[in-house]
Amino acid sequence: MNKIYADADAAVADIRDGATLMLGGFGLCGIPEHCIAALVRTGVRDLTCISNNAGVDDFGIGLMLKGRQVRKMISSYVGENAEFERQLLSGELEVELIPQGTLATRCMAAGYGMPAIFTPAGVGTEVAEGKETRVFGGKTYLLEMAFHADFALVKAWKADRLGNLVFKATARNFNPLMAMAGKITIAEVEELVEPGDLDANAIHVPGIYVHRLVVGTHYEKRIEQRTVRTPNS
């Protein structure tokens, strides 16, 4: 079994125009930055991207937007990206905004082999338009379908060569859910270890969900809002 690819370029080489991708991360925290850079280099287009956010103008998915590689974005919050807003208002980019918990749970459903979920989020709002509802215990819920993606691109902290993944701190966010949902899951990691080096009790995503591994170096890990304590605060 060999899941290890030489680099991100090799791992994303067969992603074709029109593919549906999931990209992990919350803001710029825990994004697969090397795979995104590789996608920018391939110039692949007409992508549908499922990702909580759309990066910033010059980092993350923002780089793919700048190259007009994205046809449709499915996200919960896109407020940090001027180019995104421009493409949306001009009609160049199709955008579906959905509640963050709905986004997470629709990914989760795919990884758990469930076709759909019921959630109260968005009932009575424009998110509910055209969607089936059902009442349970007097409360109304929306039927939301599981997301499917041709490729899931995730970022983990550590992996072994079998694809078992461990995430760090809040860089976990959507990554495990998307890793479990992808038809083909590409995990880029900071550190590759030998089987047995990861505590089997502490593995976040078992290797069965992970098809390709890339070891990334020189992570930029850009911080969006650097907030610090001062002795006076």
Partner: protein, 218 residues
């Protein structure tokens, strides 16, 4: 009249020992500064953390450790990390005791609008729709009027709705408001603000006996 810290301090009176609390971006974040000494309150950040600590000291920022506002933060002894599905699982299943968030408009039936201004602002709802659809106790912290001087406490929301009939309490710079079957109920006045003054700035139905007490902090 209350300043932002005054609003946050007023909302902090809702806290109880053992509470799990989700604080939104802006004024709600300031509530964390007014958790009473000796009270154990766990802050939930919906990007995947329970037990959020203060901002890090300069030089020890960790890009892998942020809150839902994308700010660098720290953990505390006993903090726990989890993925986004579990995060909204604990929200949806009603485990979070108190949710504090900002709003652009609140209606007299408890509807809230805070995610979109058609044709102007396209940012998205983030976790707000999930929170307001499920949280047991939702308190809104906001300014009483918008930049144009118009009341944000309305008969009905004019902006796209975030959630229906979910707000339990509103705290503005002018006072504390609850709800009854007719609309807003003035519960407390900000120091030095009269009930008439508040009524003039409230477009939604407002019940007031005119003698409501001024806000007091313990």
């Amino acid at each position: 009249m209350l300043d932002k810290n005054g609003i946050a301090r007023t909302i902090a009176r809702e806290l109880k020992d053992g509470y799990y609390v989700n604080l939104g971006i802006g004024i709600p974040t300031l509530v964390a500064n007014f958790i009473p000494e000796g009270m154990e309150v766990q802050l939930q950040s919906e990007n995947g953390l329970l037990g959020m600590g203060p901002f890090p000291w300069e030089g020890s920022e960790d890009p892998d450790l942020i809150n839902a506002g994308k700010q660098t933060i720290t953990t505390l002894p006993g903090s726990a990390f989890f993925d986004s599905a579990m995060s909204f699982g604990m929200i949806r299943s009603g485990k979070v005791d108190l949710t504090v968030l900002g709003a652009m408009e609140v209606a007299e039936n408890g509807d809230i609008a805070n995610w979109k201004i058609p044709g102007k602002m396209v940012k998205g709802m983030g976790g707000a729709m999930d929170l307001v659809a499920s949280a047991r106790h939702i308190v809104v912290a906001m300014q009483h009027v918008n930049k144009a001087g118009e009341s944000k406490l309305l008969p009905r929301c004019t902006l796209p709705i975030t959630g229906l009939a979910c707000v339990r309490k509103v705290v503005t710079e002018l006072g504390v408001f609850g709800f009854d079957e007719r609309g807003f109920v003035l519960l407390e006045r900000a120091p030095g603000v009269s009930a008439d003054y508040i009524r003039e700035r409230t477009l939604g139905h407002l019940s007031s006996i005119g003698q409501e007490p001024e806000i007091q902090w313990a």
